[in-house]
Amino acid sequence: MNEYILRTEEITKTYKNYAAVNKVNLTVKKGDIYGFIGQNGAGKSTMLRLVTGLGFPDSGTLEIFGENADKGLNAAQKRIGAIIENPALFLNMTAEQNLEVHRLQKGIPGKQCIADTLKLVELENTGNKKVKNFSLGMKQRLGLATALLGDPEFLILDEPTNGLDPIGIVELRGLIQKLNREKGLTVLISSHILSELYQLATTYGIIHEGRLIEELTLRELDNKCRQHLKIKVNDTEKGVTILEEQLNTTDFEVSPDGSISLYNHLNEVRKVSSALTSGGLIIEHLSQNGDSLESYFSKLVGGDSHE
């Protein structure tokens, strides 16, 4: 079985002279909840539109469930559920009728799936109420229901928390985590609300001005954002030995440039520096570092984050 649900290679989409998506290499592994982060206009929706077949890339290759030819991609896209930008709904129909259209289109046998999916998103009691009379949150949940109909293996959600109240956001997060945990659903979710994604995603892709500038796991992100003492000494090997033997810690990492990130003894800077200097080392740099997700994102994109 292919480990990757989605893999893009050098995908590019240009509108006139503007590259909305520029040579993006994105990989979503089976079972991931992939958080796709970017400011408004960074290229998130364009990228998701290319993946779902709403648009066509100018160059590069797209592989979904191991398929990359046109015919194979069509078949692979049948295993995807998606909401791109806004939930696409018939406003003059009820929730059930909206799902019935979707069920017929997808050729899903039996109507039981409609009741089950409406129950899943807690819209089972909307009866004959037309969608035009739904709140924004209800529309968002119905959009999610259309994406979930037919048990897709890969769910793509573009800014799904738009219009949801705080309780709705928590419920949506719980539902996605539940589906991921219980059904092994792979999720690609885009947002500019970093704190929201941080509580949900297991892997992150950061896009800025059409370019995927970083792809990292939750653990890697945590490490990058974690508070630590950044130490640079004239002899890294000796410095490591002193930390292990005199400060009794192994909770540190050594970077390729020889700097050491120490994750404990954060309030004992004097003790750390005296241990290193008493061991005959010259401290070239010692500072307390660590970012919030927002400031890390800001540093990457070179500006203020949007949340």
């Binding site: 539109r49 077949g53 692979a76 998606a82 696409a88 018939f90 129909m93 289109q105």
Partner: protein, 254 residues
């Protein structure tokens, strides 16, 4: 394909505009036929009069392109184009992974069936029923054959016309613009018919479904005319469908 057709039929059944246009068609044709049958509205020099069935003269109105365009154009606007506008429901169809050509074909087939009901079956059907109910005239075999042949060929031309309207609806992706463009397009055809044009334009028009709409009503059509009408209807439909599918396959869905 069967799934897509079922979905399109379901959407049509729940489309308010379709039912409104259908009721308008039913009301208008009933009224027109009633006025003609009771003699309140006199029409002369119609093909129906030539065939000896002046009781069906009201149908003259329904075979005017400007008249049936209003109904088919409006239906296309609120059944096809509306899926591309703010609601964006076309996205769900594309994301479902179905072949775009089949999606286009399903929309075209259901739209054409609906347009046929509204512009052919209801006007002809109400005319026949009212004539029967009001004992206005008993149609003989010849008249019935004429109506069957004329409106059979008319429906074939209508299929070519709806293929053009479907293409306009997909291209504009906007209800208002679809109505305006179909009206403008029909007006252009009307101008070409009435005004002196270059030989090339006249030749193209003569072999178009627009010219055929009036030719197929001629009671004295020769076998050659019938064959020409069938060929023009079928080829126009096929060509417009292929062009439409090609464009839809290349279209970026907003």
């Amino acid at each position: 394909m069967n799934n897509l057709l079922q979905a399109e039929i379901f959407k049509l059944r729940h489309n308010k505009s379709f039912w409104l246009i259908l009721i308008v068609s039913l009301g208008l044709s009933s009224l027109m036929h009633y006025l003609v049958i009771t003699g309140w509205w006199m029409l002369t020099n119609t093909p129906f009069e030539t065939m000896g069935i002046p009781e069906m003269n009201a149908l003259s109105m329904f075979i005017l392109p400007l008249f049936f365009n209003l109904m088919t154009g409006t239906l296309a606007a609120f059944y096809i184009s509306t899926e591309f506008d703010s609601s964006g429901v076309i996205k769900n169809q594309i994301i479902s992974g179905k072949n775009r050509s089949l999606i286009y074909l399903a929309k075209y087939l259901v739209f054409t069936a609906a347009a046929t009901v509204i512009t052919v079956i209801i006007p002809v059907g109400t005319g026949l029923i009212l004539n029967l109910l009001m004992n206005a005239g008993i149609f003989d075999g010849n008249s019935m054959m004429y109506l069957l042949k004329a409106f059979g060929l008319f429906t074939l031309q209508l299929a070519g016309y709806t293929a053009i309207v479907t293409l306009i609806a997909i291209l504009t992706g906007d209800s208002g613009r679809t109505i305006i463009f179909t009206i403008v397009f029909t007006l252009i055809m009307f101008v070409i018919e009435k005004m002196p044009m270059s030989d090339i334009i006249t030749a193209i028009y003569d072999y178009s479904v627009f010219r055929q709409f009036s030719i197929v009503m001629n009671p004295e059509m020769t076998s050659g005319d019938i064959i020409a009408a069938v060929v023009i209807g079928v080829i126009s439909t096929a060509v417009m469908l292929v062009i439409g599918m090609y464009i839809f396959n290349k279209k970026e869905i907003k």
